[in-house]
Amino acid sequence: MEIIDKIIFPPRHDHILVSDAIIIAITVIYFIYLSFLTGATLFSAGFIYRGRTEENPFYTRFGKDLIRMAYSVKGAILLGLLPPLALALAYAQIFYGSGLEVARFFQPMLIFTLIGAGLSLFYCKLLEKTHYLIFQILVAVAAVFFLFLAAYGLISVNILSFFPEKWMVIKGSIPHIFDATQFVRLLHFMVFTLTVTGVSVLFFTFNLSGGNVDADEQYRDYALKFGAGLALAGTLLQPLFILWTYKAFPTIAESLQGYYVAAGLMAVLYVLSVVLYLVLANKNPRLGSLAYVLMVLATLVLVVDDTIARRTGVKEQYLYLQDEAAKFEEKLALEREELKSAGGEISVARGEQIYNARCTSCHQFDKRVVGPPHVEVLPKYVGKPDELVKFILNPVKVNPDYPPMPNLGLSQQDAEAVAKYLLDRYQKYQAQQGKQ
């Protein structure tokens, strides 16, 4: 994925906004996908085990339906494969020039998602083809393991993206951070999985395209209790983990705005919990669609909160992108200017632009500012542009009446352009004086 770092464009204002928007949208999809697939596989395996050991075909059927749900929407498996690629591009754009090769972290994430989703699909097919319980359970556990690794990667990149202090200790493609922030976020992911799985059971059994039409009364009753109960438990646990997350949050990524959004998230989770409670209490599964929408909304708010944390935590990186974008615009304008004038190798226009940007805060042509007026010091450089370039690149104190000139760190080419502009302008100035 190093290649991604190379094809990223120099930043422009709109690239930064678009990248953040892509990260928000794709992370929401990816996070729900990973949570649901993990939860569906894990609980399905649990029900299959229970159905077999208790010799109750009801649980076996429920277990089979759980994993089938994950694959009921055609092409849903692709949902897990595109996000790592899209996120790699968007993150690489945000971390352009930062020294953090963020794209490489998405390579193992892609592989883990592929293996996890593949094993989970294999487990789904295996339920029809074999009766070896241990084999089925092992495949399911392996699938959950790999999906969890993918989630681990996603969570770690997320933390890394707002905690620049950790960049120096990350080696290789898997961002192990080993701190409280990462630990609590992983626990939060597990709790989040309960909400997503529960709400999805409701949505797929009762709401999506008429729901599961083969379901009898007992089945519907059980699915409602299991789905709403699981989701409610997850939703009620989430605030504690969000609180804990903030307790372990790096100070650099904290902001009042972030806390406001977190408080707003509590409002969304409250409405979701009431909806789930109404589903349970009234045995009314029609609210399942609303619960699904609220779950997606809660995920969105959670991801927006992380985006605020990133914009705060690596504020300097965003400012760098902003400044680079402005420089890029300037460069484009200059190139247009140069095309128009089509001068010699070293352009006077370029020199003038650099001069105006970098030198005019201390110098004027015929007036003392911080440094001496150019008309006083340029005569000794007439016909010797190399000497002037040398001085610009490495200034030394000449006249005790003035403070020392700082080294402005211009490139050789830029210094040559400035020297050419100055001598050119001085020549014109002399000609004008001569006329008068």
Binding site: P164, E165, M168, V169, L236, P239, L240, I242, L243, Y246, K247, P250, T251, I252, E254, S255, L256, G258, Y259, Y260, A262, A263, M266, A267, L269, Y270, S273, V274, Y277, A281, E316, Q317, L319, Y320, Q322, D323, A357, R358, S361, C362, R368, V369, V370, P403, P404, P406, N407, L408, G409, L410
Partner: protein, 170 residues
């Protein structure tokens, strides 16, 4: 009756957590948000746009354990004449005329039991940005690294610098 009480209990629970989060936010703002300085000194113009080297103003960074806040004389070398139309520069001139020091608010600090030498780090070729972040773009200075022991020791290990207690705790 029983049914209607559950949403109220939920409201209390979520409301309480939201209140705690807001309290944490206000606490952060009061205690840890970047301080307002008496003069909004733009590092992004001096170190970024003008490209001045850090050492041009922080003259003692490679000579002393302290980088030191630049003496006002260093500002006045240029601002005796430069940019007098800017309101922030006018504040500087006022301090200068009144012969008052600028009451800068300290942003980066380590506890008294930590011995930290700027000179050693500069001589070892450590970039200022390692501990202070990219000052070339900064609009308002803030602490971008925790500057806690874990941070120091991680870097010392990576660079092969000594990690015995005595190095920093004299």
């Amino acid at each position: 009756m029983k049914k209607s009480i559950v949403p109220v209990v939920f409201l209390g629970y979520f409301g309480l957590i939201a209140a705690v989060l807001l309290f944490m936010g206000f606490y952060w703002q009061a205690k840890y948000s970047p301080p307002e300085q008496p003069i909004k000194f733009p590092h992004y113009i001096h170190a970024g746009k003008l490209g001045l080297d850090c050492k041009f103003c922080h003259q003692y960074v490679d000579k002393s354990i302290h980088a030191t806040v630049p003496a006002m004389q260093i500002c006045m070398n240029c601002h005796q004449t430069a940019a007098h139309d800017r309101p922030e520069v006018q504040k500087l001139l006022k301090y200068w005329e009144n012969k008052e020091p600028i009451p800068w608010v300290k942003v980066h600090d380590v506890p008294d039991y930590v011995y930290f030498s700027h000179k050693r780090h500069i001589k070892a070729g450590i970039d200022c940005a390692n501990c202070h972040g990219d000052m070339k773009v900064v609009r308002q200075v803030r602490q971008t690294r925790t500057l806690r022991m874990g941070f120091c020791v991680s870097c010392h290990r990576l660079k092969g610098a000594p990690t015995d207690c005595w190095t920093c705790h004299k």
